[in-house]
């Protein structure tokens, strides 16, 4: 069941690895697989990318519990740069993979001591707390980190995830607002923010959700989640008691438009065989939704 054919040559694999590095994709099994089968023998041909690939394979192999591969990579990297902090961080990562968390924390602390401005080991500390299941501590430590490194978007995203885990939607929404400030043209951030506001519920949050779903759609008209979200939030606003009749008309129109767009997408993209089933299901289910399925009392047993 190989997604990546044996027939890929080493330079195609090198390009693929570069793409995965740039996009920060987590495909650890594939990386280790392709490394062992194809790239390892050609490592001398990689030029400047050799060290980056070694680091990438090291992290991927730790993710898959392939410790021999990780050790080989670490050895190669250490001989090249014996005093590097970046490689010391990888050694801490290996200790984390072995669940020797206290030792890993010691190594990370030594890196922070040596270089106060180094952000990476501080973030690994938060990751260790998360791996140990200590979410409130992870939140505290990450909040402290963000006071010093305010423009670290990855950290704001992680903090949002941690707050969502604790069901603290208000603070999660705040984190997403920071992300929107830094990155106002990302449709995914607007959509996630709208999701959080929708989950919080209440009339004002619903209106905020609707506004951000609209923004997400303006930025990316093919975001299906935003289309569904727009339909849901507009419908919820229209049936709310706080809604004025002008807003009701507006929201009904929006909901209808969203439903229409969703139908069109299904027609375009669904294969012939499941098209009718999906569409039928969709129209009926959305009609049920607009009569408030979630507010109807349960069926008698």
């Amino acid at each position: 069941m190989d997604l990546y054919s044996n027939k890929m040559n080493w330079s195609e694999v090198q390009d693929l690895f570069r793409l995965w590095r740039e996009e920060n994709v987590r495909k650890s099994t594939e990386v280790v697989d392709l490394w062992e089968r194809i790239l390892q023998k050609k490592i001398h041909k990689l030029g400047d990318e050799r060290l980056l690939v070694l680091e990438q394979v090291c992290v991927a192999s730790l993710d898959c519990n392939r410790l021999e591969v990780a050790d080989a990579c670490l050895k190669a990297l250490s001989t090249e740069f014996p005093t590097s902090l970046r490689i010391r961080k990888l050694k801490a990562l290996k200790l984390e993979a072995l669940e020797r968390y206290d030792e890993a924390l010691d190594v990370l602390d030594s890196i922070i001591k040596q270089d106060d401005t180094n952000a990476a080991p501080r973030k690994r500390r938060v990751a260790i707390l998360r791996a140990r299941g200590k979410i409130p501590d992870a939140i505290k430590e990450l909040a402290e980190y963000l006071k010093k490194f305010m423009s670290d978007l990855e950290a704001w995203q992680e903090l949002c995830d941690l707050y969502l885990f604790e069901q603290d939607f208000a603070r999660a929404a705040f984190c997403m607002e920071e992300l929107i400030l830094h990155n106002p043209h990302s449709h995914l951030i607007h959509q996630r923010y709208a999701d959080i506001r929708y989950t919080q519920g209440g009339f004002e949050n619903m209106e905020l959700a609707r506004a951000h779903y609209c923004l997400a759609l303006k930025l990316s008209p093919n975001n299906i989640r935003a289309l569904y979200g727009l339909f849901l939030s507009a419908t919820n606003i229209a049936i709310s008691t706080k809604c004025t009749s002008v807003k009701k008309k507006e929201n009904n129109k929006l909901a209808k438009w969203a439903l229409n767009e969703i139908n069109n997408r299904y027609e375009e993209q669904c294969g012939k065989s499941n098209q009718t089933a999906a569409l039928e299901g969709l129209i009926n289910s959305l009609q049920i939704l607009s009569t408030g399925w979630f507010t109807v009392p349960p069926k008698p047993v």
Binding site: L3, L164, F165, E166, T199, N274, G281, N284, S285
Partner: protein, 206 residues
Amino acid sequence: MADVRFSARAYCKMILHATKYPHCAINGILLAEEQKSKDDEKGRCLFICDAVPLFHICLHVTPMAEIALTQIDHMASTSGLVLAGYYLANENIKDLSYEKCGQRIADKIAENFSSACLVVIDNRRLTLNMENVALCVSQFVDGRWKSKEKSSITLDSKAQSVAASLLQKRVYEQLVDFDNHLDDLSQDWRNLNLNQEVEEEMGTVG
């Protein structure tokens, strides 16, 4: 409390979903056949015949869950099935809790189906050989979730060996959950092809 039995198809789909996203929390819905008569509902075995994988991205927000539940409800009612349970796997390997990750959805299902079950996948039991049943099952009794004894949970006879065989063949790469469907509408969350594979594997496994 009635016993709970899982078909090979439901068991395999749950395990494959968890394996496809080892670094994420995942969840999904369990389906059972519709009971025609009310009399033998209590005290009878609950047979979970299918599973629908839902999400692996951000389980805590509700809008997509509402859409998914209505679509699945519609599909189920046209196929003589009913939403009978909810499964989840936590991102942390030792975490067997369910309060944070989806009790809302499970409670909703229990409102409409009296003997609903809530399954937490025990991540530590996911191996290439699947020797142990990797599920912790709770059932909705008297208004709350009560965990069930291992002895009252059964799987179809070949379920474990089929699951092991599918894991070794990396069939989990073919599984489509609702998140995959939302990213690409042409992917079918009913997993008809995968159901077929499970059936074929049942035939070949001893």
